[in-house]
């Protein structure tokens, strides 16, 4: 528990890692098709449905689920709760890798990937997407600067430049941590503003000008549950000591944040009479899954002390919150889009699913590689565990 972060000495090439590699290889082949023959070759996107799961899952949900980075940075470094430090570095790593995959997904989804730099030159300051792009790009840079001490500790002597930069940014690390939290608040909320531009095309179950507030609050609410889920998976997969002493108090904060997000969301929902649109449709079911299974149920679970103290109970509750936010982002960006002249509904193509699965696999692969080679986790040596 009190150990300093250090590389874990577990076998890297497990069967699970081989499976991740296979998924990444399939995605790589699909990427060749996408770049050789265009978006139409591997996606089911059309003029009525210009955005699919790459935007809904890889970008929107990816950004939301990387919220563990800024929420733990706020708790550990700005409020100075050093008690939570064992989880801040893994959360930071997950955020850095998550945002890197978000940037990669944007690159793949852009029709003119090679022209991505142009949004820095031709800036339209009225565009929400411009602001989101600038924030995400800057935050990605800030995340890697925050992660620099961990990388430099391992490679700083071999790569002189790295050590030099590391010593330079160490003095101003506080400013970078604060900037990271500020940038997160900006773009987490603005991701919600994105769809406010389509009031007549967004299903009334989801359309509200308060979308940016809901996106910010749900991102804050999913931050700690995501840490619980990641830590749970890592602990199990890497045979680490239980982090429950850190996670249990974290789960009380998670319950509070989730409670606030849900009360605001449901208040707005009822105030604009969106509940009148709940019928037997697929959209309604998707909404109920998001709100009840991914919101109300885990909140009740997290409010029960016995659930918070049980490893399995806490993991399930946290996983449900993560699921709820994931479904919410898919709902807002994909399910809610109701184009006036759609010939058929959008169903993701195999190519889209393969690339999304490959991105998630790459994320897990890179996480495992990073904790194997860099001082991220506060883990005991393998022989000490057994």
């Amino acid at each position: 528990m009190t150990a300093e972060p250090r590389p874990v000495d577990r076998c890297f090439w497990t069967p699970g890692v081989w499976m991740l590699t296979a998924l990444m290889a399939a995605a790589a082949l699909t990427l060749i098709l996408r770049f050789a023959f265009g978006l139409g070759m591997v996606t089911n996107l059309d003029n009525a449905h210009p955005w699919g799961i790459w935007i809904g899952i890889d970008v929107a949900a990816g950004v939301a689920l990387a919220a563990g980075g800024f929420t733990t940075a706020f708790l550990g470094h700005i409020l100075g709760r050093h008690y939570y430090e064992p989880v801040t570095r893994p959360a930071l790593l997950t955020a850095a890798l998550g945002y890197t995959m978000v940037a990669f997904a944007v690159f793949v989804d852009l029709g003119r990937s090679w022209a991505i730099w142009k949004f820095l030159v031709f800036q339209n300051h009225r565009s929400v997407l411009f602001e989101v792009g600038i924030c995400v790009m800057t935050y990605l840079l800030v995340l890697w600067i925050e992660l620099l001490p961990a990388v430099a500790a391992r490679l700083g002597r071999r790569v002189r430049l790295l050590g030099w930069i590391d010593r330079g940014v160490r003095k101003t690390m506080g400013a970078f941590i604060i900037l990271g939290v500020v940038l997160s608040c900006c773009h987490q909320s603005s991701l919600g503003s994105l769809m406010v531009i389509a009031p007549t095309k967004l299903h009334p179950l989801w359309y509200t000008p308060w979308l940016p507030l809901h996106f910010l609050l749900s991102a804050i609410a999913v931050g700690f549950p995501m840490v619980v889920v990641e830590t749970g998976l890592a602990t199990r997969s890497l045979h680490l000591d239980s982090e429950m002493p850190v996670l249990v108090p974290l789960s009380r904060l998670a319950a509070a944040a989730l409670g606030v997000a849900l009360v605001v969301r449901l208040g707005d929902f009822v105030a604009r009479e969106s509940h009148l649109f709940i019928d037997g449709s697929g959209a309604s079911i998707s909404l109920l899954v998001e709100l009840v299974l991914g919101g109300v149920l885990p909140l009740i679970m997290l409010l029960i002390p016995a659930v918070r103290r049980s490893r399995g109970g806490l993991f399930v509750a946290a996983a449900l919150v993560v699921l709820g936010v994931l479904i919410n982002r898919i709902n807002v960006f994909v399910v809610a889009l109701s184009p006036p002249f759609a010939e058929h509904a959008y169903v993701p193509a195999a190519g889209e699913l393969i690339i999304t699965a490959g991105s998630v696999a790459a994320l897990m692969f890179l996480y495992r590689a990073a904790v194997t080679y860099l001082p991220i986790l506060s883990a005991r040596k393998l022989e000490e565990v057994h």
Binding site: T43, H77, I78, G80, Y84, R112, W114, L129, G174, V181
Partner: protein, 304 residues
């Protein structure tokens, strides 16, 4: 990389240096041109000859269609503008009986409406979509990054995307014949229309003309000029003998589509006041907690 670092420094220095006083959000202002070029389409005059489609195809150098423009069987299915057809004519039968007690068809020309405050131009992160002073909403592929946010934003579902092109896909839509307007010519479709169904002119004058037609022949028209108020007004205006919802015109609010997002963005990020204020607040909190840490080194603990 260099550019992104520069933008980062810009943000960082602005955040550090900006005033932390919130600037009162000004009311949203329309950027619509005062009295732009416009077209008035009178659906009671359109005979569905598709000459406008043909002229559009010719002046824009678009590929020949699978079925010729004379082939009226094309009208059997409801079409949308595509990457190779910036305007299409659709036929509707709404139960209105014409001569010989046969259902009288109504033809509807579909193209970009050239909104006064276009959602596509507000959405576009690079300004590739822009409302020109003469009224045309234009697209510049050299500024486009291919995000397709314009397709999301358009309430009329007009822009079409070249999904099949690998390297240089473009957004395709009616240009209002921007180059022709600049040299004093009419849009190709308005110029060729043999039935006088498309009248080209200035928006205010065309609204006067439309109201005159409704006033003089109230039985011929529904009392609604589509595009006068829809989404804050459009440069293409329509007159019809049957209610517009029967002809697949979207039922749209009179508020300009970009207004909510632009108001939110302006209120939150004008002079970056809110990020600057949040930065200052967090810096103050961090300073306090660090001082407390120094004073009480043994009390690092979490709540349980």
């Amino acid at each position: 990389m260099i550019t992104s670092r520069r933008s980062f420094l810009q943000v960082a220095t602005t955040v550090a240096g900006a005033s932390t006083l919130p600037v009162a959000a000004r009311a949203w202002e329309s950027r619509a041109p005062d009295n732009p070029f416009a077209c008035l389409v009178d659906l009671t005059r359109c005979i569905g000859c598709r000459k406008c489609e043909e002229a559009c195809n010719r002046v824009n150098d678009l590929p020949a269609p699978a079925q010729s423009f004379e082939d009226l069987r094309t009208l059997k299915s409801e079409r949308r503008p595509t990457t190779t057809a910036y305007t299409v004519i659709n036929r509707y039968t709404t139960g209105v009986l014409g001569s010989g007690h046969r259902q009288q068809p109504i033809y509807v020309k579909v193209q970009c409406m050239h909104c006064q405050d276009p959602a596509c131009a507000s959405a576009c992160p690079t300004g590739a979509m822009a409302k020109q002073a003469n009224g045309a909403v234009t697209y510049d592929p050299s500024q486009c990054i291919g995000c397709r946010y314009c397709l999301i934003a358009c309430p009329f579902q007009i822009p079409a995307y070249e999904y099949e092109r690998a390297l240089t896909p473009r957004v395709r839509k009616c240009t209002f014949c921007f180059e022709r307007l600049e040299v004093g010519k009419l849009p190709a479709c308005a110029a060729i229309c043999p039935a006088d169904a498309i009248v080209f002119g200035r928006r205010r004058q065309l609204l006067v003309e439309a109201k005159r037609r409704i006033r003089e022949r109230p039985a011929r028209y529904v009392s609604h000029i589509y595009g006068e108020h829809e989404v804050g007004g459009t440069s293409w205006l329509y007159l019809s003998g049957v209610p517009f919802p029967h002809l697949a015109f979207p039922n749209l609010p009179s508020q300009a589509i970009p207004r909510p997002t632009e108001s939110i963005q302006h209120a939150l990020f004008h002079n970056l006041w809110s990020p600057a204020a949040l930065f200052a607040l967090l810096a103050a909190v961090m300073a306090v907690t660090r001082r407390n840490d120094d004073e009480r080194p043994g009390t690092k603990g979490g709540e349980s």
